[in-house]
């Protein structure tokens, strides 16, 4: 049934929710928006990968691949996307409708320690992975980062202060 790769419709969903639908006939024939595309991946002996689409070649690197989550580098530009089937896309919609929308993130201390420095400031815009502050614990400096995109609402932490486990340090409000 679903193991059948022939004539499958797949949808690539980008980071900001943009959708690109394409059809797979077999391992080299694809179609998108009604246009047929011949695609080939060429792996050279040194591990270098070339992606050939309609005869035009692009250098490609698969940075990470975890199930249907991909991060690829094409011509030096990074693309982050998931590959969905029509059913898994529908499922995402059903779940999104049932889920309460979270309005931000509370960054708490993962372990007792001392605040070394604070990078986050109130009103600052942050992206996932941006450093917020540095916590020293077990004689090691740990950088705590944001996991959502948003605006820093409050900075409860003070530089030089000692904090306990799960103490609120920074509050982020989703933009």
């Amino acid at each position: 049934m679903q193991n059948n790769i022939q004539n499958k419709t797949l949808i690539a969903v980008g980071k900001n929710g943009e959708e690109y639908e394409f059809k797979v006939q077999n391992s080299y024939q694809y179609s998108s928006k009604g246009c047929k595309l011949t695609i080939e991946m060429i792996e050279e002996a040194d591990g270098f990968m070339l992606f050939s689409c309609e005869g035009v070649r692009y250098p490609v690197e698969i940075v990470s691949r975890k199930l249907n989550n991909y991060e690829v580098l094409v011509n030096g530009v990074s693309y982050n996307f998931t590959v969905e089937t029509p059913f898994s896309l529908k499922r995402r919609e059903i779940l999104a409708a049932n889920q309460p929308v979270s309005d931000g993130e509370d960054v708490c201390a993962p372990m007792p320690g001392k605040i070394v420095s604070i990078i986050a400031q109130e009103g600052m815009e942050v992206n996932p992975g941006d450093p917020l502050l540095v916590l020293e614990a077990m004689k090691m400096q740990n950088t705590l980062t944001a996991s959502v995109k948003g605006v820093v609402k409050t900075v409860a932490a003070k530089a030089g202060a000692t904090v306990g486990k799960d103490e609120l340090l920074v509050e982020i409000k989703k933009a």
Binding site: M1, Q2, N3, L67, N68, T82, T85, F87, S88, K90, R91, I94, L95, N98, Q99, P100, P110, M111, P112, A137, M138, K139, M140, Q141, N142, K165
Partner: protein
Amino acid sequence: MGVAYEKFLERQKQLEQQYSAEYYEKQHNRGKLTARERILLLFDQGSFEEIDAFVPPVGVTFGKTTKAFGDGVIAGFGTIGGRQVYAYSQDFNVLGGSLGTTHAAKIVKVQDMALKTGLPVIGLIDSGGARIQEGVASLNGYANIFRRNVLASGVVPQISAIMGPAAGGAVYSPALTDFVFMTEGTSYMFVTGPDVVRQVLNENVTPDQLGGAKVHTSKSGVAQFVYSDDANTILGIKKLLTYLPSNNIENPPYVANDDPTDRVEEALRDIVPEDPDKPYDVRDVITLITDKGRFFEVSENYAPNIIVGFARLGGYVIGIIANQPKVMAGSLDIDSSVKAARFINFCDSFNIPIVTFEDVPGFLPGTDQEHQGIIRNGAKLLYAYTRATVPKITVVLRKSYGGAYIVMNSKGIGGDYNFAWPTAEIAVMGPDGAIAILFRKELAEAADPVALKKELVAKYRNEVANPYIADEKGFIDEVIDPAVTRAKIFRVLKSLDKKSVSLPRRKHGNTPL
């Protein structure tokens, strides 16, 4: 063929009619696949053989009943990646997947067959719990399942995937199995549901907040894997199976690949920072050493200060345990000790050699940890390492201090080969602590205590906290060039191929709990 064959065909047709378009739609509208679709996705195409497809539920006199064939569970066997596996898949469309007497008997049958034939069992769970109408008989059904879970523990791998609700007693079957998968957004596990919590404790909580996939994979540690939907969860199960033997007598599957076992990785020389206070990601070390850089992590989001998972080295499966300096400095706390101990127990049961990458400043101090029992929980890790008889190899990357040195598979508790990188610091305690104790009087009397302390710390680091003392005493077998770690581990693994250990006879040890 005459009437008899006609009757046979008619019966088959009736079963097919049970799986109507409406049947599929009901589950799809919940964002879930049906029990049947899951089974078909799990097994190699056309390989699944269903047993007891026609058994009816037992008659009840009280409440709603059903005439559905199979009593709400699809059970049988087939091949996954060419290997025989037993499985059952609960059907939420039949009385909410509730466990009736017949339903339970089918699961028990599969478990018995798997144990008899030495094959893994996979349970795809989507069930509201015990069937109230059938009363105590359905509870006894659970008891029978649990008993077989325990009997099969350490004999055949048992995998549970929660793909819908699992409430009440139903949660204990997954808890007894080796690995638990959950599907994001559509699976829940709890002993008492939100309604009871509200009535008894006046606490308002959604099923997802109480026992959703995120809670169980990051907070409670009940589940090891979470995937975005049913299809991906099943892919995850298949991937895990590629690392597991079918039973405790077999060795895990060897898969040849073209990654040379003597591959030299110069990048390994620069991963550990010069400054001992700076963290790094130990995953970078792991993926440079394993075959093709592949590493299948277990319990990724729970206790991330220790990393555990499966990989291959020269085609042979190994279990990896690594302290993660990036999180909580890689210190051992209650959660990380239990996580690693459970993983070691699994590897030891199923003949998977254990490779430990060590960079641990010690056990996490503090009232929080002490009061919750870091002593008895840390003992679990110590017990697990010591009891394991599979090949055990340690590579000390950097810090290896105090009690944590002993626990992390030191020579004394039974490490077969213990290597250290030149960056290793092996001592009773870190330089600051040691100097403060050894030179308390001198420091108190010194004109410039800060300068004196700095000088003594540097001296300690140079003379004591290095790998060479341990090397000279034989507690470390060899201090190695980080670049050749892969080749070193592979060679000793080969030499340990026929390792055999005999232990004193006993019913079972009294493991710390």
